[in-house]
């Protein structure tokens, strides 16, 4: 190892370091600093210590948005994961049909999140005529999906499931690939039923991929801004105002940047808990 080699390695890595330091690390530091001040409309108006944090932790709006985030994330997780798992099992074999089907299922995931939500907003809209027709068939008549708190949450969850179950499918397919096919064949020969194979062979062998998929989906849902911003804007009556949406509004609509930064720091720390879990699982999986 020559000294000049190490020097050129550092030089090669320098651009990466500069970009990430300036646009990812520096913002977090600035954020931590701003979060201790009263900042309104870009003007720093004085040091307030942990007042911003105290204000957030005791605010009823934050409490409401935490609750909304929890409901949305778990609802979206259950439906997205279940559908993704079903798709992975159904499209497991690498036949030409299955490869084509995987591509079709992935299209909602590939297009812009904003556009996907816009397309669903049109389906939910009463004027499109679809929801009155479907709900009318069940005798509900004139229902506006995004104007009813519970239905609006359902609309958000459906958006998540429609877009992201393909993502879950891809992650789980990679896990299924690592399970030797002979095990299934051997179990079938031994007379095991499909249900038995699923619960006693597939599930235990896929423990790690399942955990990884669940955590990655959770991180994604907790931090999703586009679905509520486009579909409901947080309404009706704040029933779909997630934590990230609340932070977005405090920062960019109310311009209370000190408090928004404190909220961002808290959300960041919360995320890091999940990321740490993910890294631990990876390390454990590598040791197995």
């Amino acid at each position: 190892m020559r000294a000049s080699d190490a020097r050129s390695a550092y030089l090669m890595f320098l651009p990466v370091l500069i970009i990430e330091a300036a646009l990812v690390v520096a913002p977090l530091i600035i954020s931590g600093w701003y979060s201790l001040y009263n900042v309104r409309y870009f003007k720093i108006r004085g040091f307030v210590g942990f007042d911003n944090y105290w204000h957030i932790l005791t605010s009823s709006s934050v409490l409401n948005s935490l609750f909304v985030t929890a409901i949305f994330s778990f609802g979206a997780l259950i439906f997205t994961f279940t559908l993704g798992f079903a798709l992975a099992l159904w499209l497991q074999k690498d036949t030409a049909t299955n490869v084509a089907m995987r591509a079709i299922v992935l299209i909602p995931y590939m297009i812009a999140m904003l556009v996907g939500s816009m397309l669903l907003k049109w389906i939910y809209a009463r004027e499109s005529g679809l929801s009155p027709m479907i709900f009318g068939a069940f005798g509900f008549g004139d229902v506006s999906i995004l104007a009813d708190p519970q239905l609006a949450m359902g609309g958000l969850v459906f958006n998540a499931m429609w877009r992201d179950s393909a993502f879950a499918m891809i992650l789980l397919l990679a896990g299924l690939k690592s399970v030797p096919v002979q095990i299934f064949a051997a179990a079938r020969v031994d007379g095991a039923s499909r249900l038995y194979i699923f619960w006693r062979i597939v599930m235990p062998l896929l423990r790690i991929p399942i955990l990884i998929t669940v955590i990655r989906l959770l991180i994604h849902f907790i931090n999703t801004l586009t679905f509520p911003l486009v579909l409901t804007g947080g309404g009706p009556a704040n029933s779909t105002e997630t934590l990230v949406l609340y932070m977005f509004r405090r920062g960019f609509q109310d311009s209370v940047l000190g408090e928004a930064n404190a909220l961002a720091i808290l959300i960041f720390v919360g995320n890091m808990v999940f990321v740490a879990m993910l890294l631990l699982i990876f390390r454990k999986a590598q040791r197995l």
């Binding site: 646009l23 977090l28 904003l114 005529g129 991180i219 940047l257 909220l263 993910l278």
Partner: protein, 289 residues
């Protein structure tokens, strides 16, 4: 299925069962495809309908006569300009990310240096930070740097967010190349930058294409970063423009959906042609959210 059959079934019965199964899986596949594609096809159909047909009840599945009036209308409302902005930002982000990513990935793949392990952890760490928790801080940072409301600001942010996955992809690809070729070139007196440029990169085309596609899809599709960091019409990208059309056209869904379909076309076309590059990257990297 599990009941054992001791006498071989008759040929006809076997055939009938196979036929039933094929028909059954065809139905399931059709339902899945309809679920995935219906919102897109319904939007496409609406965007081609004459104005009064869009809100007709009961809804018509297909337009009675195809019209491009809504597409003409969004082009009159400068959608062309927004497409251009999106294209510029996407292209610049691809170039910058690949340049910095190839250098960084090569350094990690082929050099032993102090801090290499830390650099890897740093890459994975940055990859796992969800963008939402960075929005408010980044807004303050860009205003300090004087890059708020500029295309340059967007390009730099997209580069920062996509660099980790690009480095990860290229690092893996570089590792799979035979090192002997590079050693031979070094003996011939090539500098390490010349080895990278003349030997390694020409051999890494599939890796570079896959990396470029991630950046392209991310930059073309991004709404959240662009809507927070830009406000003026001159730098507005296509997704932000579509979101603004929501207020601009009010309850007029024709132009709104026409603009949405325009945004989808390059993604769907590119994805169908280059599918294999995407899927390998989605599973790799592990922790990226």
């Amino acid at each position: 299925m599990s009941e054992a059959t001791f006498e071989p079934p008759r040929r006809g019965a076997w055939r009938a069962r196979v036929a039933r199964r094929t028909a059954g899986s065809l139905v399931v596949n059709a339902v899945i495809a309809l679920f995935a594609l219906f919102p897109i096809l319904w939007g496409l159909s609406t965007s081609l309908k004459p104005k009064d047909e869009i809100v007709a009840y009961p809804p018509r599945l297909l337009p009675s006569a195809v019209t491009f009036e809504h597409y003409m209308r969004v082009f009159n409302d400068s959608v062309g300009h927004y497409i251009l902005n999106s294209t510029i930002v996407t292209a610049a982000a691809i170039v910058l990310t690949l340049a910095a990513g190839a250098l960084g990935g090569y350094a990690l793949a082929r050099f032993q240096f102090r801090g290499r392990g830390m650099a890897m952890v740093f890459i994975v760490g940055v990859m796992s930070i969800p963008i939402a928790s960075l929005l408010v801080p980044t807004y303050s940072t860009l205003s300090v740097l004087g890059l708020l409301n500029t295309r340059t600001g967007l390009v730099l942010l997209y580069t920062a967010y996509q660099l980790p996955i690009v480095i990860w992809t290229l690092y893996g690809y570089f590792l799979s190349l035979p090192v002997e070729l590079e050693q031979a070139a070094r003996i011939d007196g090539y500098s390490s930058s010349r080895v990278l440029w003349r030997i390694v990169l020409p051999l890494s085309k599939p890796g570079l294409v896959a990396a470029a596609l991630f950046v392209a899809v991310f930059s073309w599709n991004d709404f959240v970063v662009a809507v927070t960091m830009t406000s003026s019409e001159s730098v507005r990208t296509l997704p932000v423009a579509i979101y603004n059309y929501l207020g601009f056209y009010g309850r007029e869904w024709g132009p709104l959906l026409a603009a949405s379909i325009i945004s989808i076309i390059p993604i769907v076309a590119g994805f169908l042609f280059l599918q294999r590059y995407f899927v390998s990257g989605l599973t790799g990297g592990g922790t990226k959210g």
